[in-house]
Amino acid sequence: MSYLRNTTNQPSQLDSPQHTIEVEQLHKRFGKINAVDGISFKVEKGQIVGFLGPNGAGKSTTMRILTGYNRASSGIAKICGIPVAADPHFIKRRIGYMPENNPLPLELRVREYLKWRAKVKEIPFSQRRRAIETALESCDLLRAQDRIIGKLSKGFRQRVGIADAILANPDVIIMDEPTIGLDPHQVILIRDLIASLRGRMTVIISSHILPEIEMTCDQIIIINHGKIVGQGSPAELRDTFIDHTTYEVEIHGSIEKLKTALSSIAPELQIEKTSERCPQGFATVEIQIKGKRDYGERLFQTLANCPDLRPRSLRSKMAPLEDVFLAATRRSWEEVDQELVANGEEQAVN
């Protein structure tokens, strides 16, 4: 798809630390509710960013402000260095947006719809046909191109929405829950598609499916109550929010013996979980250590030297992103609770 914008795809420009999206102290109020409450972040060119957060956290509102569809109450959102509010039409030529629930005109055919969108998005006549072909091809829609959108299954419709978002080969693609309602095959297809945009376009996606985000995104922004509660790469987020190390060992032998073996290494090694034994007599045991320590080698040696214990496998277990997400949002809930308590006390004093 590089034929549409050859100049911006030069590697020299990619190497420069240019921020395609800059958001500073963004606020959005709906009546008394602060939907977005002071969000700031920066996204480098060509990065894929995932917005995570519970429902009503402010993800969609932030995305809408970035597209110029909603106006922020205060704060600055810049795309390609231009504030969105200052020149919405400049911004609209540089973004591809797929809203939540992916609204489509149900009576049109897929190709018809994309052709019309290509015209509206000001793709020059000479490139229109190719742009549509490319979008259809990358979303695996060639077989469905002559079908009526209203008669397509949800997965197909979702792909039509994504094809529309990438159609004009924009600098920034914003997709609100692109993989919702897709089957695993289609999810993989979309994931690969999004990954193929890396380096060429800046992509922002929001999702509830945590492994999805983890697999595709370079940077994750966790939002709760309109505030950013965690930001960084998946590894950085784990460092920040998960304060324990977990090892998983498959072992034959009594758990009591294992406990004594563990305490001989260090007292902080605790058995967190033990599974049922399999027919061969092996049980999976999770060992948790507070803080970030590497006990892998010592654990392995100790278990191997212990005559009554027969380990079959040992691996260090990464905390799932789910735990990170829960930890991050829980922390912000606690803050909100504290604020509420503080406010209540203030009112009581008054």
């Binding site: 569809y69 919405p88 030529r93 809203p99 489509l104 005109p105 015209k119």
Partner: protein, 253 residues
């Protein structure tokens, strides 16, 4: 106005592929046919002062009451309900282009439906009055009034649709606005009973707003520029208000 024709083409295409267009058209022509036939029966029973075309145009408001809401209630309310307005407004099109294209599409459809009714007169003159000469001027006058007033009525409908998310509310509101304009506008003179000291002023005002009077003026060949200005300026005002309503509700640009 770069995208106006792109949007208009899309609107017309969507009208053409939608079954509701044909149902509404069928309903309109059915009712107009019955009215025309009823009118001809009237002429066979009693002698009348006016030509059949003048009487025909005098009843223009009956189809207007239901056709205008039917044609316009979907336009913006449906885009808003389905959320496609969000995908549309995040492309480089302006709200003015969207409103104008919706208006133009429904206006073209409205005019073409009325043009089909011209065939009634052709058939009538061809068969019933073979020995008389066709008098085309009441027809030209009548149809030009229909096309002129159509701008206002459809802009009222578009405005109603731009205020809400529900087609039903838009339809009822559109009907109310059109009904209000025609009925109140043509009966405003009766208010002079209430305000006797300002009767002169009211009478003068009602001269400007009486849609039925405009109709009979046009169909008897009096082309009044005051009416032209009234309809066009009010139509533009309501289209502008629709743009403001979308800007306010969907908060952009």
């Amino acid at each position: 106005m770069r995208h106006f024709f792109t949007l208009l083409r899309n609107e017309i295409w969507r009208l053409l592929i939608s079954p509701s267009t044909y149902i509404a058209g069928f309903l309109f022509l059915l009712i107009m046919g019955f009215l025309f036939q009823w009118m001809l029966r009237l002429y066979t029973s009693d002698p009348q002062d006016e030509t059949p075309s003048v009487l025909f145009f005098r009843m223009f408001f009956i189809p207007v009451f239901f056709m205008v809401p039917l044609l316009t209630m979907r336009s913006i309310a449906d885009e808003r309900r389905s959320g496609t307005i969000e995908t549309l407004l995040t492309t480089p099109v302006t709200i003015a282009e969207i409103v104008l294209s919706k208006f133009a599409a429904s206006y073209l459809y409205y005019c073409s439906l009325w043009l089909i009714t011209a065939s009634f007169h052709v058939i009538f003159f061809a068969y019933a009055q073979r020995d008389t000469i066709i008098d085309p001027y009441p027809l030209i006058g009548g149809y030009s009034y229909i096309f002129l007033s159509g701008t206002l009525f459809l802009s009222l409908g578009i405005f109603a649709s731009s205020l809400t998310k529900s087609q039903l509310v838009a339809g009822i509101l559109g009907f109310t606005l059109v009904f209000g304009f025609i009925v109140i506008g043509s009966n405003i003179e009766d208010l002079s009973v209430l305000a006797t000291d300002q009767a002169h002023w009211l009478r003068q005002f009602s001269d400007h707003t009486d849609a039925l009077q405009h109709m009979s003026d046009f169909s008897t060949g009096i082309i009044d520029t005051r009416a032209i200005i009234l309809y066009l300026s009010t139509a533009l005002t309501f289209l502008f208000l629709s743009i403001l309503a979308i800007e306010y509700r969907d908060g952009t640009t």
